[in-house]
């Protein structure tokens, strides 16, 4: 192969052009020539054009005719020799060829048949020297590739008689390429370990790399986009000194999910429409701390701790209903109750699942994640909460907050947190916050001056806004696309996507 390439280049160097590869390299298969040319062309050494031609070669039978004469002329000679020839003798003398010769000799009007079934020379000719062997002459011309003047019909007739066979001949016209040289060193596509260890790379040429390409993407695993955002939030909490709460408790009691948070027993949030109740197990216990239960009952029923209360009959049976927690605040309440044993400033957070018995649509799922922060400190103010929220959200690149009064059953004051969203061109609610009500904290035994700030947001909403996800089901749950998970970039809450 390399030899042929070199031969081509040297011939070109000498002659300037190879008009027909078939003539120059008659014994080399055109496919071999083509592959040598392609390789040379890829390196700019040559250019070529391809030419196809049909040639005819003689079959074995054709060659025999050229050597011995056509069947008809041989039959004629036979008849001439014997004067008269029994037809049955034709086969004996000439085999199968005799029959063909007999038919064509009749057709040419060279012989005739008498009553005794004997062949004789026809009246038209007296000797075989009177006729020409046209078939042989034709075949000779074909053999010498002198096809000019031979009718296609005649050629086709020869083909039909299986005397000639067509051959496709491919020939190349070769000229010098833009990078013509007789040097055959092939550039390397890649550096190999061998080149490095032997030092051979120093003498090698390297093929230019096509940088206008993407490369080969590695096969890899991936974390879920939502859990990546969750991790961003966790890191923000950690950076501000928050400890993660044991939020791994989905089943809650009405007591912890509602009563402790000062949500009265007829509150709409406790409706079957909004909350998943549990039928098995059927009923919960109440906490062992009887004083706490009495305090809760008192503050709901008649009021206590300066509160006038909701003034209704508080029923333990409502508290003992089991639910899937509707918020992680149920866990915060249990943590704050623990804090009452040794009241001191604390910072707690959780990011975990909550459950709502809602109709599922593009923005609502029965399950989602709540991000919740709880901060307890002595005599802190609403201004501290505002400042803290600004620091918290600034860590994810959200600044210029506004605070709107709102209502939550267990915080007072309550503030919705809004930020200007450049992409949507409007103020959007990004979270909810407040100071926990004394009716929630004091029954636990926490001192009055230990104030507790709480705030929360959903994990899905900022993720959907950030990454333009329109349908929450494409983010959480089994309908998420694995391609989305595989191709999702790193989550960086502080990254501004609207620049």
């Amino acid at each position: 192969m390399a030899d042929l390439q070199l031969d081509i280049l040297e011939k070109l160097d000498k002659d300037g052009e190879i008009k027909s590869s078939l003539q120059t390299f008659p014994n080399i298969n055109p496919q071999v020539i083509l592959s040598a040319l392609n390789s040379l062309k890829a390196h700019g050494k040559v250019d070529y054009s391809k030419h196809d031609k049909i040639r005819y070669s003689l079959t074995k039978e054709g060659e025999e005719i050229v050597a011995k004469g056509s069947h008809e002329i041989r039959l004629l000679h036979l008849v001439e020799k014997f004067g008269k020839l029994q037809i049955k003798e034709v086969m004996t003398q000439m085999g199968a060829d005799g029959k063909v010769g007999q038919a064509r000799a009749f057709k040419n009007g060279w012989i005739s048949k008498n009553k005794e079934n004997e062949l004789t020379l026809s009246e038209k000719i007296s000797s075989s020297s009177d006729v020409a062997d046209e078939t042989k002459d034709l075949l000779l011309k074909v053999k010498d590739d002198k096809l000019d003047g031979i009718d296609d019909k005649v050629l086709n007739d020869l083909k039909k008689r299986k005397l000639v066979a067509p051959i496709k001949e491919t020939s190349f016209n070769i000229v010098k390429g833009s990078d013509f040289s007789t040097d055959l060193t092939k550039p390397e596509t890649d550096l190999t370990a061998e080149m490095v260890s032997t030092g051979s790379y120093k003498d090698l040429k390297f093929k230019p790399y096509n940088f206008n390409s993407e490369g080969i993407i590695p096969e890899s695993g991936a974390l879920h986009p939502l859990s990546k955002i969750r991790e961003e939030f966790r890191q923000i909490f950690f950076s501000m000194g928050f400890t993660e709460m044991p939020s791994n408790q989905y089943v809650e009691t009405g007591f912890w999910n509602f009563d402790t948070l000062y949500v009265p027993q007829q509150h709409p949030a406790r409706d079957l429409q909004d909350t998943f109740y549990i039928k098995d197990p059927a009923q919960s216990d109440l906490p062992e701390d009887k004083e706490y239960i009495e305090n809760i009952k008192a503050v709901h029923e008649d009021g206590k701790y300066e509160s006038i209360g909701y003034r209704y009959n508080w029923k333990p049976v409502e508290s003992q209903k089991l639910v899937l927690r509707t918020h992680t605040t149920a866990i915060s309440a249990a943590m704050l109750k623990e804090l009452a044993k040794d009241p001191k400033p604390v910072r707690l957070f959780s990011i975990d699942r909550v459950f709502r018995n809602e109709a599922v649509d593009a923005t609502h799922l029965a399950e989602f994640h709540q991000v919740e922060g709880v901060l307890a400190d002595f005599n802190i103010t609403l201004g501290d909460l505002i400042q803290f929220m600004e620091s918290f959200f600034a860590k994810m690149g959200v600044t210029g907050l506004r605070f709107k009064p709102t209502y939550n059953p267990y915080t007072e004051p309550s503030m919705e947190i809004f930020s200007w969203h450049e992409g949507l061109g409007k103020w959007v609610e990004i979270g909810n916050s407040g100071m926990f009500r004394p009716e929630m904290l004091e029954p636990m035994g926490l001192p009055k001056d230990l104030r507790v700030l709480g705030w929360g947001l959903s994990l899905e909403r900022p993720t959907m806004i950030k990454y333009g996800v329109q349908n929450i089901r494409e983010l959480l749950g089994h309908k998420v696309s694995l391609d989305f998970i595989e191709n999702n970039p790193a989550a960086r809450l502080d990254e501004d996507l609207y620049d």
Partner: protein
């Protein structure tokens, strides 16, 4: 949060200003309600009057109608003072019979004299009753309101429990007389299902139904279902009797107070209400209703200032509160306190913290001085230990080229049991009482259903599909206060043209190596150190026979080994149950053993 629809022009007339949308939005924002929608554009096309849809706090029953919203905003803007509600002398009585005790114990009533209805305020009067019924009254279970043309009936009025068959009257919007039991059947018909039919259950099973009737025995209403046609009010009604019946006394007072507070403004004597004497001897609830007196609450000035980070004088705080319908003055007895009068419109105020919040809103949340007290310096953060273990699982699995997915925790009973070829013996799974769909019947006890559902949805993804989850499953436990507990699990599935069992086995090895737990050959016998091995286990019907195994773990030298999970080739029936037309293998571990 309830949404109230009000006529835009009417509201702006009441506020004395035609607001630009943005400016009105701003006003709502500072006050703490939300302009949800302005229908101006749509209304222009339909040739209707533009409405504003305003979202209000769920505890502000005084904002459920245009009268209340305008009044509150006018006070907030300083344009108006809070009205003072006055009672005239009662002229009649409502006598409550002990017989109501078994069905609906409480009642209250009031009269609005010489009221002038217009089409607008009449509609608002009806709409407020609807809003109260669906919100505070919890669909009439707690309280039901009836309104009557006083001039068609005659006091004293009676509230009694009467056997259904003894009740006869023409109900509102009907042309014939019904007996009590007939009426119940009538409202149980399908066409009433979304109307009065919704309330039938409240009294249906009671031996007596509650009835309000007048001195002559004319039925006024059958609460909580329907008023009588006889006493119905119209635009021309001059004197209105409002009666409320209830199972909850506190809410009864709130409801009747809201009704009279909102509509006494249309009486000839503005904000004057005629009360009724309620005679309710059987339960010692005799009194005069409504009680329009403000409640007094003394609140410490220091408390408010300390919570808000302000140093306001008592008089400044009083000014802020007056914007929120609260008349306050420095306490004459206690120098450091203010006396706050809480009007009947503000039953949401339960505690001084509610006054403190109103002082903040009156001052302006966004004008409050920002605190500088909180420093991050004194707090040491810590992750929840199980979440740290989870993170190790998650990172190792993704590094091993698995994709993390987050399926839901809730699933159908079949997905958690039958589809996995597992019998429910009733000891493990928590079951929901009121799911809206079959998708949510149980809390999962295995991560496999969610993983296979995810694979099903991604069947067109290139094979093999390798996904994992680190998440919580929930088990029942009768010993616990909450009767159930979460357990953190890790599960990984391989789905492809072949089962890939060895690959899943290898992933398990990789994970165990990450947790410093070597494989021990000869099923744990070749060494007595910490380590793991797997043993064939035919007890898991989820796996193909002969291809299921349990994962055994010895935590420390000398400790007994325990099962911490299982792995195997997923049974073809399981794959088919989840519509996954491939072969697969699965491993699941209890992550908590690595705590």
């Amino acid at each position: 949060m309830p949404t109230v629809s009000v006529n835009k022009q009417e509201l702006f007339d009441l506020l004395g200003k035609n607001y630009e949308t943005k400016e009105f939005d701003e006003l709502c924002f500072e006050f703490g309600i939300e302009l949800d929608e302005d229908t101006t554009e749509e209304a222009l096309k339909l040739n209707e009057e533009p409405q504003l849809k305003i979202e209000i706090g769920a505890n502000r029953y005084d904002l459920l109608c245009i009268e209340g919203i305008a009044q509150a905003l006018n006070e907030f803007l300083g344009r108006n003072e809070a009205p003072v509600y006055k009672l005239s002398e009662p002229t009649t009585k409502l006598i409550i019979d002990k017989s109501v005790e078994q069905v609906r114990s409480y009642a209250a009533a009031a009269i609005l004299r010489n009221i002038t209805f217009t089409p607008e305020n009449y509609q608002s009067f009806i709409a407020l009753q609807d809003k109260l019924h669906s919100n505070l009254c919890r669909n009439r279970t707690l309280v039901a309101i009836g309104t009557h043309d006083l001039d068609t009936v005659e006091g004293p009025f009676h509230y009694r429990g009467i056997p259904p068959k003894d009740i006869k009257f023409v109900p509102l919007n009907q042309t014939r007389e019904f007996r009590g039991d007939e009426l119940i059947e009538f409202y149980k018909q399908p066409e009433q299902k979304n109307n009065i039919g919704r309330f039938v259950h409240i009294i249906e099973d009671s031996p007596v139904y509650p009835v309000i009737s007048d001195a002559k025995g004319t039925v006024c209403s059958l609460p909580p279902l329907i008023n009588s046609e006889h006493s119905k009010i119209s635009l021309n009604t001059k004197n209105v009797l409002i009666e409320c019946t209830a199972t909850d006394k506190t809410k009864l007072d709130i409801v009747i107070n809201q009704m009279v507070a909102m509509f006494s403004r249309y009486c000839e004597n503005e904000f004057v209400i005629e009360p009724l004497e309620i005679v309710s001897e059987f339960n010692n609830q005799s009194r005069t209703t409504p009680n329009c007196a403000s409640k007094m609450m003394s609140v410490s000035v220091d408390y408010i200032n300390s919570c808000l980070g302000l140093k306001q004088e008592p008089s400044d705080i009083c000014k802020c509160l007056s914007k929120m319908a609260l008349q306050a003055s420095p306490d004459s007895k206690d120098h450091g306190a203010i006396q706050v009068a809480i009007p009947i419109t503000r039953p949401d105020i339960l505690h001084p913290c509610d006054i403190m919040e109103d002082a903040a809103i009156g001052y302006g949340y966004n004008k409050l001085p920002k605190g500088e007290k909180l420093s991050n310096a004194n707090f040491v953060a810590a992750p929840l230990p199980i979440n740290r273990v989870s993170d190790i699982f998650r990172i190792a699995s993704s590094q091993a080229s698995w994709l993390e997915v987050l399926p839901l925790t809730l699933c159908s009973h079949d997905e958690n049991f039958k589809y996995l070829r597992v019998e429910d013996d009733g000891t493990k799974a928590v079951k929901l009482a009121n799911p809206k769909t079959l998708e949510y019947q149980v809390v999962r006890t295995s991560l496999l259903p969610g993983l296979l559902k995810t694979v099903k949805e991604n069947r067109k993804h290139s094979l093999p599909i390798k996904v994992f989850e680190t998440g919580d499953v929930v088990f029942k436990n009768a010993e616990l206060e909450r009767k159930a507990f979460n357990e953190r699990h890790w599960g990984a599935v391989y789905v492809g043209k072949t089962s890939g069992f060895e690959i899943i086995q290898g992933l398990l090895g990789k994970i165990m190596q990450t947790f410093r737990t070597p494989w021990i050959s000869d099923f744990g016998k070749s060494s007595s150190t910490r380590g793991y091995w797997i043993e064939q286990d035919e007890s898991q019907a989820t796996f193909f026979p002969g291809r299921g195994a349990k994962v055994m773990f010895r935590q420390k030298e000398g400790q007994p080994a325990k099962q911490i999970g299982y792995l195997g080739v997923i049974h073809p029936e399981v794959m088919n149950n989840f519509d996954v037309p491939f072969a697969g293998s699965y491993v699941e571990l209890n992550a908590e053993v690595f705590l």
